[in-house]
C-alpha cells in the first residue's frame, strides 16, 4: 500500500520536474537565445545520461544473464535506422518551448497546447500506423478523450 502511494507520488514529482525543466530552459533562453539554451541543455543532458548509463551498468552488470544479452542482440537487427534520430525533433522541442513559454501564453499554455498537439498527433499516427505502430483506426469515441483536454487547455490559456 505504502509502496503504491509512494510510486504514484513519484510519478507526480516526475511531472513537476518536467514542468520545472521547461521553465528553467526557457529562463536560460531569455538570457541568451533559445538556440544556445537548447544546446546547453542537450550538452549537459548528454553528460548526465552517460553518467547514469555507467552507474546503472556498474550496479546491474552481474544480474544481466548471457541469455538475456543474446536475446537483445537478436532484437537489435530489426531496429529501423530512423529510430536513432529522435534527438532531432528533441532539439527543436526546447527551441519552440522557449519561444512560447516567454510569450503571452506562458508555461501552462505551452504545456496545454503541447499536450493537445501530442494527443491529436498520436491519434493520427495510430490511424495510419506511422512509426511502425499498430494501426488503430480513428473512431468518433476518440473525440471524447480529446474534447475535455481541449476544453481544459482553453481554460488554462484564455482565462
Amino acid at each position: 500500500m505504502l509502496r503504491q502511494v509512494s510510486d504514484r507520488l513519484l510519478a507526480i514529482v516526475a511531472g513537476s520536474l518536467l514542468a520545472l525543466m521547461i521553465s528553467i530552459n526557457s529562463g536560460l533562453a531569455i538570457l541568451n537565445s533559445p538556440l544556445q539554451a537548447s544546446w546547453a541543455a542537450h550538452g549537459i543532458g548528454a553528460l548526465v545520461a552517460i553518467f547514469l548509463v555507467v552507474v546503472y551498468s556498474r550496479c546491474f552488470r552481474l544480474s544481466q544473464s548471457k541469455a538475456n544479452r543474446h536475446k537483445k542482440d537478436n532484437k537489435l537487427i530489426s531496429l529501423p535506422s530512423w529510430a536513432y534520430f529522435g534527438g532531432i525533433p528533441g532539439a527543436f522541442t526546447v527551441l519552440l518551448a522557449a519561444i512560447t513559454v516567454n510569450s503571452e501564453i506562458g508555461l501552462s499554455g505551452t504545456l496545454a497546447c503541447a499536450l493537445v498537439g501530442q494527443i491529436v498527433f498520436g491519434m493520427i499516427s495510430d490511424h495510419f500506423g506511422w512509426f511502425e505502430s499498430e494501426i488503430k483506426a480513428f473512431v468518433l469515441q476518440d473525440l471524447l478523450k480529446v474534447l475535455p483536454i481541449i476544453a481544459g487547455s482553453f481554460l488554462l490559456i484564455f482565462i
Binding site: 510510486d7 507526480i12 516526475a14 511531472g15 542537450h42 497546447c113
Partner: protein, 150 residues
C-alpha cells in the same frame, strides 16, 4: 497570441515524433542508452545550427551571458527524468504513469506562474487541469481495454 498557440501545438507534434522515435530505440537499447543517443544527436545538430547562426550575428549578440547556476539544471533534470519515468512505468504501468505525470506537470505549470494570477484565474486553471486529467484518464482507459481484449 494565435501565432504562439500554433507554435505550441506544433511543438506537441514535434514532441510526439521525438517520443515515437525514442520509444522505438528504448525498446531495443533500454531507456538510458536511448536517452544518451537522443541527447548526443540533439547536441550535434544544435552545434551545427549554432555555428551557422553565429555567422549571421553581430559580435555583441554572440556574447554568452553568464546565467545563475540553477538555469543550467534543465539538462540535468531532462536526463534524470528518463530514468525516473522508466522506473515508475515498470511499477505502476503506462496508464497510471501518463495520468499522474501529466497532472503533476500541469499543476506545477500553474504554480510556477501563479504569482501573476488572480484567484479567479487560479480556480479556472484548476478546473482546466481537472478536465485535462479526465481526458487523459479516458484515453488511457480505452487503450487499456484494447490490450485486455487482445
Amino acid at each position: 497570441m494565435l501565432f504562439y498557440i500554433v507554435i505550441a501545438l506544433l511543438n506537441g507534434v514535434v514532441m510526439g515524433c521525438s517520443r515515437a522515435l525514442n520509444g522505438q530505440l528504448s525498446m531495443q537499447a533500454g531507456p538510458l542508452k536511448a536517452s544518451v543517443c537522443n541527447h548526443l544527436v540533439g547536441f550535434i545538430l544544435l552545434s551545427f545550427l549554432l555555428i551557422i547562426w553565429s555567422v549571421f550575428q553581430s559580435e555583441t549578440e554572440l556574447l554568452i551571458v553568464s546565467a545563475p547556476w540553477y538555469l543550467y539544471l534543465g539538462g540535468f533534470i531532462g536526463a534524470l527524468y528518463v530514468a525516473l519515468n522508466s522506473f515508475i512505468l515498470s511499477q505502476i504501468g503506462a496508464a497510471n504513469t501518463a495520468l499522474l505525470v501529466i497532472s503533476g506537470q500541469m499543476i506545477t505549470g500553474i504554480f510556477l506562474e501563479h504569482e501573476s494570477m488572480a484567484l479567479n484565474n487560479f480556480l479556472a486553471n484548476i478546473v482546466g487541469v481537472i478536465l485535462i486529467g479526465i481526458g487523459i484518464y479516458f484515453s488511457q482507459l480505452n487503450s487499456f481495454k484494447l490490450i485486455k481484449q487482445k
